[in-house]
Subunit: 200 residues, 2 copies
């Protein structure tokens, strides 16, 4: 059949939805029909929300977190400790870490991690901007990149760059996740947990 | 924390995405960050596609299938057999059935099924519009509502309404799905398969 859908606009919408991560053909079709059936205000407010995010949201000129102002709420907050900077890969990691309430310093968002295989070099992520922030106030940089090869490579690279400045560089502890069962832990996690054992 | 996200626009987008079917909080957040990171053209073409669907797509004045013209491609197609009308619940069912290539008649979309529990009565779905289509040309109405309680109730209601007009009313066969294993078939499907057994 030349045309599967009786409306070109519907076919285009399904096609656009399929480009989203983890949305397959069946999901895209179901979402499109949902949008088609929803009241116009609902569908248009989704369209407007997508447009608004692209128009209003940009990056904090200090830490590269997302914001609608020039500097983000966290950088602007005078109650936060400017002597510790926590380095993360993505803006969503700021949300995740800040939700714990454990950290009251500042953040720096790299927008990626080093990956020679994917051709991502220090110039492709916000490393230069991080180095420019490291003045006398900063005493510690916590590298909170993901616990995988790219995150490890990025942490290693940053520690080599920052250590000579006399600033402490730390990483998040690796070990057993809370609520897990020893027998289900993978070998690498177990090895790390042994390596990083603490006295009680 | 008063505000979980550092951007109001992002929070709104996540909220809008969560209203979509089978999109939870984590999925909505992942989709929103994807949209945030995507090139502007990509995100805006999704927003435009949503808008276009609401603006351009409406219902065929004959069969209530979706279309961008006054009558849909299927109703407009002179090569299709106007003596058989296949009644379905939703526009997506037209796509599913027509994909098989087995049916070359016309369709009628009810936009729902009868459901006393949800207070959906014949006035809430396009039954009146179906009855108005039943002229001398129509010889058979195939009721292809879903094989569940609501679909069954709708089929029963329509057959009682249409049979007195001397028009044949049929339903899709019920039985074992192709590729299935007997031992995994549920009791109701098996009972229906026995009931509707055919000679070979």
């Amino acid at each position: 059949m030349a045309q599967e859908y009786s409306s070109q606009a519907l076919a285009i919408l399904i096609d656009e939805l399929r480009r989203l991560p983890s949305i397959g053909k069946v999901s895209a079709q179901r979402l499109a029909f949902h949008i088609l059936k929803a009241p116009s205000e609902r569908a248009l407010s989704l369209a407007d929300a997508i447009r608004a995010v692209k128009e209003k949201v940009h990056y904090c000129t200090v830490c590269w977190n997302i914001t609608e102002s020039e500097t983000c709420d966290i950088c602007y907050d005078a109650k936060r400790n400017p002597s510790i900077i926590c380095v993360v890969e993505e803006p969503k990691d700021v949300i995740t870490l800040d939700r714990t309430g454990e950290f009251r310093g500042l953040y720096h968002v790299l927008h990626g991690a080093l990956s020679p295989l994917d051709n991502i070099t220090p110039e492709d992520i916000r490393t230069r901007e991080l180095m420019l922030r490291l003045n006398d106030t900063v005493q510690e940089v916590i590298v909170a990149t993901n616990p995988n090869i790219e995150g490890d490579a990025t942490a290693m690279y940053l520690s080599r760059l920052i250590n000579p400045l006399g600033i402490k560089v730390t990483r998040l502890a690796r070990g057993l996740p809370m609520g897990g069962d020893l027998e289900y832990a993978d070998d690498i996690t177990l090895a790390r947990a042994l390596e990083g054992r603490t006295e009680i």
